[in-house]
C-alpha cells in the first residue's frame, strides 16, 4: 500500500491560509465595526422596516443587508454581533482555563484525597448536560452578556482540569521534575515553571475545540431567550427574531446573521483541525 500521508499533509499545509485569513478578516471586521457601518445596531427606524438586501433589487444602498422588523440595520447587527460572539469565545475559554488549569495542576501533582475529590467533581460536571445547566442557571439568574460568559466559562473548567491533571500525572515521574524537587524548588514553582509548559500543546488543542462550542452555545442560549439581554446585538438573538418573520417572506433577517456565525465557527474549527494535526505527535 502506498503511504498516503505525504499527499494529505501537503494539502493540510494549505488549510491555515484559508481559515487563518477568514478568522483574521472576521476579527478585523468586528473590531472595526463602528467605522464600517454608519448605523447603530440598536437604532430603530419603523419607516424603513423589512427592507430586503440591496442585491435583490428592492433594497437600498444605505442598508446593504436590509433591515429587520424594527428597521434596524442587519449588517450593523452582524458586525456588532461578531464582537459579542468573539468576546464570548475568548472570555469564556479564558475563564475555563484560568479556573481549570490550577485545579488540574494541583490535583495531578498532589494526588491522594484532593485528586479523588476533584476528579469526582469533574465526573459529575461532565455528566451534566451543559446546555441545560447553563439554561437553568440563567433562568434563575437572569439574562446578560457577562453572566453568559461567566456561566459558560465556569461550566468548562472540568474538561481543562481533567486534561491538565492527566498531563501532570504523565510528567511528574519524569526526571526533570525529580531534579527540580532535588533542587528544593517549591511546589508552585515546579508546577508553573516545569510542568505547565509541557501541558501547553494539549491545552491549546483543547481550547481550539472548546471555543467554537462556546460561541455556538451563547448563540443557542440567546436564541432560546435565556442568553444575552434583548437589546444586545447577538447573532443568535438576531436569528431568533428573524425566525418569527420567516413565513411572511423576510428571510434575510435570520439567514444572514446565522451565516456570519457559521463562517466564524467554521474558521475556528478549521484552524483547530490544523492545529491538532500540527501539534499531535502521533500524527507526525
Amino acid at each position: 500500500m502506498p503511504d498516503r500521508r505525504p499527499r494529505e499533509r501537503r494539502w493540510l499545509r494549505t488549510i491555515p491560509w484559508f481559515s487563518a485569513s477568514l478568522l483574521t478578516l472576521l476579527i478585523l471586521v468586528a473590531l472595526a465595526a463602528p467605522w464600517l457601518t454608519p448605523h447603530d445596531p440598536r437604532q430603530q427606524d419603523l419607516l424603513m422596516s423589512f427592507l430586503p438586501p440591496v442585491w435583490t433589487g428592492a433594497g437600498e444602498v444605505a442598508h446593504p443587508f436590509g433591515t429587520d422588523e424594527l428597521g434596524r440595520d442587519v449588517l450593523a447587527n452582524i458586525l456588532f454581533g461578531l464582537r459579542v460572539s468573539l468576546l464570548v469565545g475568548f472570555g469564556s475559554v479564558a475563564i475555563s482555563v484560568l479556573v481549570g488549569t490550577p485545579l488540574g495542576l494541583w490535583a495531578g501533582y498532589r494526588g491522594g484525597r484532593v485528586d479523588t475529590l476533584l476528579m469526582r467533581l469533574v465526573d459529575v460536571q461532565l455528566s451534566l448536560p451543559i446546555i441545560l445547566v447553563a439554561l437553568g442557571v440563567l433562568a434563575v439568574w437572569g439574562a446578560g452578556l457577562w453572566k453568559v460568559i461567566l456561566v459558560i466559562g465556569l461550566v468548562g473548567w472540568a474538561e481543562v482540569a481533567r486534561l491538565v491533571r492527566g498531563s501532570v500525572l504523565a510528567e511528574r515521574s519524569r526526571e526533570y521534575v525529580t531534579a527540580a524537587e532535588a533542587l528544593a524548588a517549591g511546589v508552585p514553582r515546579i508546577l508553573f515553571r516545569h510542568a505547565l509548559p509541557n501541558v501547553l500543546n494539549a491545552l491549546l488543542v483543547l481550547v481550539s475545540v472548546m471555543m467554537p462550542r462556546f460561541i455556538i452555545l451563547e448563540a443557542t442560549l440567546s436564541f432560546l431567550g435565556l442568553g444575552v439581554a434583548i437589546d444586545t446585538p447577538s447573532l443568535g438573538l438576531a436569528v431568533s427574531r428573524g425566525y418569527e418573520y420567516l413565513f411572511s417572506g423576510s428571510w434575510w433577517t435570520s439567514t444572514l446573521p446565522g451565516l456570519a456565525l457559521l463562517l466564524l465557527v467554521l474558521a475556528v474549527n478549521l484552524l483547530g483541525d490544523w492545529l491538532r494535526d500540527a501539534l499531535d505527535p502521533r500524527a507526525a
Partner: protein
C-alpha cells in the same frame, strides 16, 4: 459482571443524588417561588397560604429532608403551573423526545459511518477532501440555523414538508434531519480518523503482507477494530442529543420533554425542572451501563480484564 453492575448502579445513584441536590440548591437560590407564582391580584395573606400549601415556609433543612424522602418514593412534586405530578408530565413527553432522538441518531449512523469509511479508504483523494470539508461545515453550523434554513426551503419556499407539530412520519422528517446533521458530520470525522489510524497499524500491514485480499483486511482486520471505540462515542452522542434536542423541539414545536422543561424554566416551575433532571440523569446512567455491557461483547479484552 455482577460486581461491575452493582458498582455502576451505585455510581449512577450517586450522580442522581448530586443532580437532585444541585437542582434543589439552585432553585432555592432563585428567590421566593410563591411570589413568582402568585397572580398579580393576590394579596399577601393569599400568597402566604400558597407558600404554606407548597411547603415553602419550612426551614431549608426540613424542605431538603422532605425532598429526599419524596425523591426515594418517586414523588417529585406537583407542577406549580398546571397542578399535575411533575414526573408524570415529564414521562408523558419522553416518547416524543425518544422518537426524535432515535430517528436523528439512526440517520447519523446510517449516513455518517459509511461516509467516514469511504473517506478513510480514499484518503487524500478529491472525494475525501470534499467529505472532510462538508463535515467541518456540518459541525460548525448552529443547529437552530440549520432548522430555520430547512424550514425556509422545504416549508416556506416549496411547501412540501410541515414545519411544526408531531403526527405522522412527514412531521418527523425536518426535525430529525436537523437534529442529526451535527452527529452525522461528527461520526464521519471520527470514523474516518480512527479507521485511518488502524489502517496504519502493524497487524493490518501483516495481514496485507501475508497476501489476504484487500477487502478482507479492510473489513475483518481494520474496520472491526476501528469501530470498537465508536460504540462509546455513539452512546455518548445519544446522551448529548437527548438534551441538545431542546433547540430542535423549540423550532419545530415538537412536544418533547425538552420543550416542556424550557417552558418550565421560563416560569420557574421547579418540580418539572427537578423531575426532568432526575429523568435525564437516570437515562444517562442507563445508556452508560448499556454501552459498557456492549463494549464487553465487542472487545474481549475488556471482558477478561
Amino acid at each position: 459482571m455482577t460486581t461491575f453492575l452493582l458498582r455502576r448502579t451505585a455510581q449512577a445513584l450517586f450522580t442522581v443524588w448530586v443532580v437532585a441536590t444541585l437542582v434543589f440548591g439552585l432553585l432555592h437560590v432563585a428567590g421566593d417561588p410563591a411570589q413568582i407564582l402568585a397572580p398579580p391580584d393576590m394579596n399577601q395573606i393569599q400568597v402566604q397560604e400558597l407558600r404554606e400549601a407548597l411547603g415553602l415556609d419550612e426551614p431549608i433543612w426540613v424542605q431538603y429532608g422532605l425532598f429526599l424522602g419524596n425523591l426515594l418514593q418517586g414523588d417529585l412534586g406537583i407542577s406549580y403551573y398546571n397542578g399535575r405530578p411533575a414526573l408524570e408530565l415529564v414521562l408523558e413527553r419522553l416518547p416524543a423526545t425518544f422518537e426524535l432522538v432515535l430517528s436523528a441518531l439512526g440517520i447519523a449512523l446510517v449516513a455518517g459511518v459509511p461516509l467516514g469509511i469511504l473517506a478513510a479508504l480514499s484518503a487524500g483523494s478529491r472525494l475525501d477532501r470534499a467529505l472532510r470539508f462538508v463535515s467541518v461545515i456540518g459541525i460548525s453550523a448552529p443547529t437552530f440555523w440549520i432548522g430555520i434554513m430547512l424550514i425556509l426551503v422545504f416549508s416556506v419556499e416549496w411547501g412540501v414538508l410541515p414545519s411544526s407539530g408531531r403526527g405522522g412520519p412527514v412531521n418527523l422528517v425536518l426535525p430529525a434531519v436537523t437534529l442529526s446533521l451535527f452527529s452525522l458530520a461528527f461520526f464521519l470525522r471520527i470514523v474516518r480518523s480512527s479507521f485511518l489510524e488502524v489502517l496504519n497499524q502493524d497487524f493490518v500491514r501483516t495481514a496485507r503482507a501475508k497476501g489476504l485480499p484487500r477487502g478482507v483486511v479492510n473489513v475483518k482486520h481494520a474496520l472491526r477494530n476501528a469501530l470498537i471505540p465508536f460504540v462509546t462515542i455513539a452512546g455518548l452522542q445519544f446522551g448529548q442529543l437527548l438534551t441538545s434536542s431542546v433547540v430542535t423541539e423549540t423550532i419545530f414545536a415538537w412536544p418533547g420533554m425538552n420543550r416542556l422543561v424550557l417552558q418550565a424554566m421560563y416560569r420557574l416551575d421547579y418540580p418539572i425542572i427537578l423531575a426532568f433532571a432526575v429523568v435525564v440523569a437516570v437515562t444517562f446512567a442507563t445508556i452508560n451501563l448499556i454501552v459498557d455491557v456492549i463494549y464487553g461483547f465487542v472487545d474481549p479484552r475488556v471482558r477478561h480484564a
